[in-house]
């Protein structure tokens, strides 16, 4: 019961805070005071209470797209275990459903962008679909390597066993964290893959897909994207929280790591510029390379005598 409560509170607030921290870090870095930490929550409430402007060319796909997208991310969040609290739902093979339900959301997000018949939104949709083709296999290689290392087929089993094995998992863990951080930047549409603050449609990916979305639908999409970042950050935190801590300590450490991840995203965003669109695939391929490195080191260690 307690676990469920923690997860629901997290799902409710963490995404807004996560975005708030990113923006605060960027503001401080740039010498500004920055918006309140919960600014995106206020935006969410405001958007939820608005009416809508919809394009006359759209069909029902455009109307259900954002909702399905959010639904997919929500289910993925419920499948993600929280350190110290566990997952609302976890089973052998849950990581498959996790990745595929996010894929379902993406499918609808792409279609609702194409439904407007806008060339900008088509451009964003095309980029989103293309970059996913690199991210997804890398994610599966990474999780597959962790399955191989721990002998468990569920998120919970993997994370509980991973840090308890021996010293060498530190290497695997840190490589995996880096790999997942790249996934967070890509899936969360952050610099250097995408710039959420850009004003030029031609250089956007995620923002351009929602040009025609307004009101509650836009609120759903913004919240879902933030939640997606929190979900990936949760997976990252799992790799860093040591085992055998009392539940309250691991949850506390987890929250601190979540904030630190948000800070790291903000720092990256302050330090480097968005990559040229044609260089983005190379950046994401780094994730694939890292995933294969994880696999190689797991294979090396598990076959050797360590």
């Amino acid at each position: 019961m307690m676990e469920g409560l923690i997860v629901f509170v997290l799902i409710g607030f963490a995404p807004f805070l996560f975005v708030g921290i990113i923006n605060r870090v960027k503001a401080i870095w740039a010498g500004r005071r920055g918006a309140p930490l919960l600014q995106s929550l206020y935006d969410f409430v405001k958007l939820m209470r608005k009416g809508q402007v919809v394009s006359g060319t759209t069909s029902f796909v455009f109307r259900i797209g954002p909702t399905v997208y959010l639904g997919g991310v929500l289910l993925a969040a419920l499948l993600t275990p929280v350190p110290g609290a566990g997952a609302v739902m976890g089973f052998a093979g849950d990581f498959l459903l996790f990745a595929y339900v996010l894929g379902l959301g993406k499918f609808f997000l792409i279609l609702s962008a194409m439904d407007t018949g806008s060339s900008f939104e088509g451009m964003g949709a095309s980029r989103e679909a293309t970059f996913s083709t690199i991210v997804e296999p890398a994610f599966f290689i990474l999780i597959g390597s962790l399955v191989l290392l721990t002998g468990h087929l569920s998120f919970e089993g993997i994370f509980q066993t991973l840090n308890a094995i021996s010293g060498y998992t530190v290497l695997v863990s840190s490589l995996s964290v880096l790999c997942l951080f790249l996934m967070l930047l890509t899936e969360g549409a952050r610099v250097p893959v995408d710039d959420p603050n850009t004003h030029l449609e031609l250089t956007m990916i995620h923002e351009v897909m929602v040009l025609d979305t307004s009101g509650p639908d836009l609120a759903f999409i913004q919240y879902a994207s933030a939640l997606k970042m929190v979900v990936v950050a949760t997976l990252m935190a799992h790799l860093l929280v040591p085992p055998d801590l009392p539940a309250w300590a691991s949850t506390g450490l987890y929250l601190a790591l979540l904030a630190a991840t948000a800070g790291a995203v903000g720092a990256v965003e302050s330090l480097i510029a968005r990559l040229r669109m044609s260089h983005v695939p190379q950046f994401i391929f780094l994730m694939t390379a890292l995933a294969w490195t994880v696999f190689a080191s797991v294979l090396f260690f598990s076959q050797g005598d360590f």
């Binding site: 009416g51 339900v101 296999p137």
Partner: protein
Amino acid sequence: MTLVLAGLGLVFSGGALAALAKGNAGRLISTITTLASFLLLLPPIYSVLTGGETRQMVLQWSEPAGMVRFVIDPLAAFFMFIIALGGWLSAFYSMDYMRAYREDAQGLSAYYFFLHLLIASMLVLVIVQNAFVFLVAWELMSLASFFLVSFENGKEEVRKAGLYYLVAMQAGAAFLIAAFAFMSFKAGSMDFARFSEVFHQDAGLSLWMFLLFFVGFGAKAGFFPLHTWLPLAHPAAPSPVSAILSGVMIKTGIYGLLRILLLMGPPEKGLAMMVFLVSLVSGLFGVMNAIAQRDIKKLLAYSSIENIGIIGMGIGLGMLGQAYGQPGLTVLGFSGALLHVFNHFTFKSVLFYGAGVVYARVHTRNIEDLGGLIRFMPWTATLFLIASLAISGLPALNGFVGEFALYYGMATGLLSASPGVILLSLVGIAGLAFIGVMAVLCFTNVFGVSFLGVNRRPFAHAPGEASGWMLLPMGLLSVLIVLIGLYPPITFPFLQQVVGSLAGEAAPALRTELGVLYAPVVRAIGLFALILLGLFLLRSWMLRNKRIAVFKTWDCGYQAPGSRFQYTASSFAAPFLSLTRAVLPVTRRLLRPQGLFPEDASFESRPRDLADVVLFSPLLGLLRKFFGLFTWIQSGKTQRYILYGLVFLLLVIIWIVGGG
């Protein structure tokens, strides 16, 4: 068995009757007889699949066939169901679709005759246990489908595609004939049961025989690099035929492989690895090429190659499990393969029927000319969307169900003790994920460009919705897609016997195993449905009595956007294709604008098939060159031909006199 014979007879005689009938009667006869035979076949199929006794019938025939056994075992029953259902649905769909060709009475007669012949021959070949009759049925199937593919033989491209198809099928059949002939020579009988003994006696022989069978059946199924006929034959055929070719006929190649596996027993490790890797390459290659296509039916044909690859990965996984003695892998591999055989039949048929509706209403297969069709044909669009989601393997639809078994199987393969299996499993997981996400790209592209947005070219007349005759088969299959996706366990009673026979495991144990595996998935999908319901309620509650203004799409302040401004399928796929240039050869023809007042400039790009460019074109070129050496024989002068005859006679006489 009586029911089966009656069903078979009905299909065959129905075809003959429909061919002879005048006017509309033919179409009606065809629909009724295929439905009746489907219903007649259902009870035996149901009973065999759910654990009833296998039905058998033995005929004594003259040489070379000898004893001919017709056996309905679970494997045969599984494929019979797909054939009979697919046959009926295509006949039903043809009711309206083929009306466009009603002037061509002769062509239509032939169409119905060969459609029924195709269904009947497929039914025979899955139940017969005799090499001779099997090959006869196999050839009948190839011939019948050749005539169906060349239905519109007035068109040059159709004739070409038909001939290519025929040659490819005969080349594949040559391998099968060789393999079967050798096997029956060794076994001293044409009966499959005797083959099994030969396989078990001689391991070296079974290796080579399996390779021959794999090439022969693989050419039919469409494994890389033997797939080149699919993207030619499917667009040429009328849509109900494409649906039956892709949904049903190519699966007979899968049936053949499984049948040989059943006879052969646990395979060599190397064979299992080969099947797995060839399938993985087929899957990747198929979907990559599908992304590059503009012709909707060509795209679907490449996607069939992809799905055959996924099915083959399941078979390969099952074989790996057998070879390495890991029953869990075997069960999951074969379950995944068979689930995907059925699932692919459902969604690929819907997609081809949908493409047929588009072709019948808009008269083009080029998706670049389409757009906004969802407003003209909302039902077709919705069903096409459901099938697109399913074929991308997304959850809550049946495509995910089969792929889940495969992923799970490969994940357990990671826990194996053998490094080979570990490596293959990880490569397989990454590969299947890559295939899945490329399918998302491919099908968001085809659905988004053809059905969403606005039409890119003016339609000659507003395209109407599909008729009930066309919607019913699509709707029926979509119900199956959703049902299996929401509640996978409904398939287990029909799966347990056939997977059990392949994996050599008791059916009840297998069913419990699958039940345990899928129970949490069912719960999670239920939860997902609840979440979606909640969100939709929240959304409509928030939007109640709010102003919803309808305006045009944001155009960046530009005031005169045209429908040609939309993103095209080519540009949607371009970023991805630029990453995969190495394996996707594209011919580009660019005419640059010249001078101060350029008059014409054009750009054309045409995706080409790597297997064709690297393998078949050079090979066929060499063959042509070789046979070119003998063209002087064909002089066209009658006197010379008479001379050839005389020389030949002379040689024969010398041979008889000298030798005898």
